[in-house]
Subunit: 462 residues, 2 copies
């Protein structure tokens, strides 16, 4: 057994305990009520980096939540790996659907995780995966096997669109200079089917408001004679897709790069069963754009989803009211070469134009992100692939993911460096959902694999 | 000047004082903290009926608040008028929006009420209007002009849905036997534009739930490949109306009685301006079923309004989630001869049938109410019309109201008697709102008009 594995084995319980400690901090960046907790999470990450052996650890202020920086430069001539992750988490609601307090981590066995999984908000996204890199640094430091320089950039606003990361990166290009960026904020196909994410969808996220009468009205006295903002909102949203679930916003598909038959055939090799998919989600049928498979719909095609809707009376019983206002949050996942700002503008112009004269419509952009595709023939990918082979005993499959990590495109643009998306989560880990969890196996497999990446990256040529 | 007018003039101050006394009792039926006051109001009404000259006055117990009964039978061969009203009132909150204590009546002049209006909770709805009938009885008794037998049925639960009125009526059909029911619990167009409400809309109210995946999902990883319950709900609701705002539920209009050109022409005489309507509601355009005017859309046509909708993330900021469930509360206003139970079933069958296989749809009925229309060619209406002509100097306009008063249909069903809605309130009286008031002019005009109704009803043939 290698020194690294021995060290991991000896410190297993502590590595778990330290992660649980971090998970106890409700660092919800979307809700200002948790400001103190988000700051506390930043401090905790800084401390853990120091004790892992990082130098120059700073909590770098930004116009929003701070970015935690730390580095270990062993030899300027050696290649440098920049690790990115985030310490903020999604809101936990609906709280009542959790089996345990989302901020009091519990380890439980599941069918997919016979060795147990850590149940807590952020367990997988992204505290658990980010913390693997901190522990991997400790392992390499303690076993004198650190083979590259390493820098850490851990932010606290990923779940709200990394609104200040660009601001920080632009101002710290030299400090962040590196040869490759390593990110664990995605997933793999299964614990026995390792994979590396080579593509990500972009994002355009807007909030819409439809206003009718200047006050709530009695639906008996006014019903039928005034535009009901909720009825109108449902009609406007419904009109955004046709019967083939094709998005009807003019120009929406203009920049979409059609994937070649060959690439689609390659993708189709990844194991997938609509039956399993339906069973796991307890749905009677899949649903999506005509002419594409489920994995394609969730990765290489753009989407439009209502993430939230509200208006009128939502309480017990019946209230015969016509609301003055109705609201929705709508997000669109984008694929190369769609541009979020362009899509947001197309949406805003179109949506504001389809409202009838009897209401006023407002569209407020939230945040966006560029789609991204990384080649599989560069040094970073090859080093990652070799690392998985060492620890999983098989070559990882390159996969295009439906999610968005807008920063990946930002890094390439600002720092000129490719990112490797070394994610160890599973689809079933319920990130952004109640009972989010992260496999104990996955946590330690990550801590084990990351040092192998450093080793191979140091050995390989560009 | 008639004896009646002379008597009213001589007792004007006392008539006002007695109403104010009744208004000082906070008989809020919705709030059990006021139980003693509601009972006290019942007692006060009983006392006032006795002193007006009624016999057999009883405070009749029900499973809820009592019903005050009283009668004056002068000759079994004469027709009998049954007066309905209620002594309970709406809660007064938000209290801080009142200019005076809602239960310490104040008389103030307003633009619409130059002779002054009584400001107090219940001034118009319904103590003020109900008490006109008590005083009218006194007037007729004191001037020996009572020309019909009269019965009073004054309840204390109208503001909480008349939950025990049906119970009482079923058990007292003989006692309540009458030729016409007289109710003053509605309004008229203006003090110089008398009107009589001849129709009320019925109601079908349902709650719908659309369920997709068994948990909230990450909209990046699943977006585009699973049915989003909110998107689906908006499509289902939108499909319930066509481009002419015509409701598409099969069979929905089957029982709707088309109004004759003549009656529509009659209705069109009621003063209405879309411009004023738009200005008051701060809307750029009216909106509704093609081929009908604004007053028609709000009265003689059925509607479908979403009263509330909710699902997914409604908090601050952006959450990229696909919700597991989406909900809406939907109400339909009904017109003769639509039946609420039938419409509710049509809605449920249709709505549950249009959901795609990828979701499950549930429809839960809330409560319903029958529509009602009283012909303008029957004895009761003709007597009322003649009475208004005597006291206002002009024929009243028959008006169909968009609201619902389910008890009117109950009376027709259980007692087989038509109700005449002789309301003297104004739209601007702010019933159910802060600063509710009732014009002194309207109060005495009612006391003056009611005896004329008795006179004409006695003289007319069926």
């Amino acid at each position: 057994m290698s020194d690294q594995l021995k060290y991991i084995k000896e410190n297993k319980d502590r590595f778990l305990e330290e992660l649980k400690e971090l998970l106890r901090i409700p660092s919800i960046s979307a809700d200002s009520a948790y400001k103190k907790d988000v700051m506390a999470a930043a401090e905790a990450v800084g401390k853990s980096l120091k004790s892992a052996g990082a130098d120059k650890v700073e909590i770098c202020p930004t116009p929003g939540y701070p970015i935690v920086y730390g580095e270990k430069i062993i030899d300027p001539k050696l290649p440098t790996v920049l690790v990115y992750g985030h310490y903020d988490v999604q809101p936990a609601d609906p709280i009542d659907l959790w089996d345990n307090d989302p901020f009091d981590p519990v380890i439980k066995k599941t069918d997919i995780h016979p060795e147990g999984a850590i149940f807590a908000r952020g367990a997988c996204d992204d505290k658990g995966q980010m913390f693997m890199h901190v522990k991997a640094l400790e392992v390499m430091m303690q076993t004198n096997t650190l083979s590259c320089n390493v820098k850490f950039m851990i932010e606290g606003e990923e779940e709200v669109g990394s609104v200040n990361l660009g601001w920080y990166v632009e101002r710290n290009k030299e400090k962040l200079a590196s040869d490759v960026i390593l990110i664990s904020d995605t997933g793999m196909l299964a614990n026995d089917v390792p994979s590396i994410t080579t593509g990500l969808r972009g994002l355009s996220y807007v909030e819409v408001k439809v206003t009718g009468p200047n006050r709530d009205l009695h639906s008996g006295l006014y019903g039928g004679a005034v535009a009901n903002p909720i009825n109108i909102l449902t009609q406007m949203i419904a009109s955004l897709m046709d019967e083939n679930n094709h998005i009807t916003i003019p120009g929406f598909y203009d920049d979409v790069i059609e994937i070649s038959k060959e690439e689609r055939a390659e993708m189709a090799k990844a194991p997938h069963s609509d039956e399993d998919y339906k069973r796991k989600l307890k749905i009677n049928d899949v649903h999506g754009e005509k002419g594409y498979s489920t994995p394609e719909r969730a990765s290489i095609r753009p989407t439009l989803d209502v993430n939230g809707i509200w208006g009128g009376y939502m309480g017990e019983g019946a209230k015969t009211v016509i609301a003055s206002e109705a609201f929705a949050k709508i997000s669109m996942r984008l694929v190369p070469d769609q541009h979020p700002d362009k899509i947001t503008k197309l949406f805003k112009d179109h949506f504001e134009s389809i409202g009838p004269k009897s209401v006023t419509v407002e569209v407020t952009p939230h945040h966006g992100g560029d789609p991204y595709v990384s080649p599989t023939d560069n040094r970073g990918y090859k080093a990652a692939s070799a690392a998985y082979e060492d620890t999983f005993g098989k070559k990882p499959i390159p996969v295009r993911s439906g999610g968005s990590i807008p920063i990946v495109a930002l890094f390439e643009r600002e720092l000129g460096v490719k990112s490797i998306l070394m994610g160890f989560g599973l689809d079933t880990d319920a990130i952004h959902s109640p009972n989010e969890h992260y496999g104990v196996f996955n946590y330690f497999k990550g801590i084990e694999t990351i040092p192998q990446f450093f080793k191979h990256f140091a050995e390989m040529e560009d």
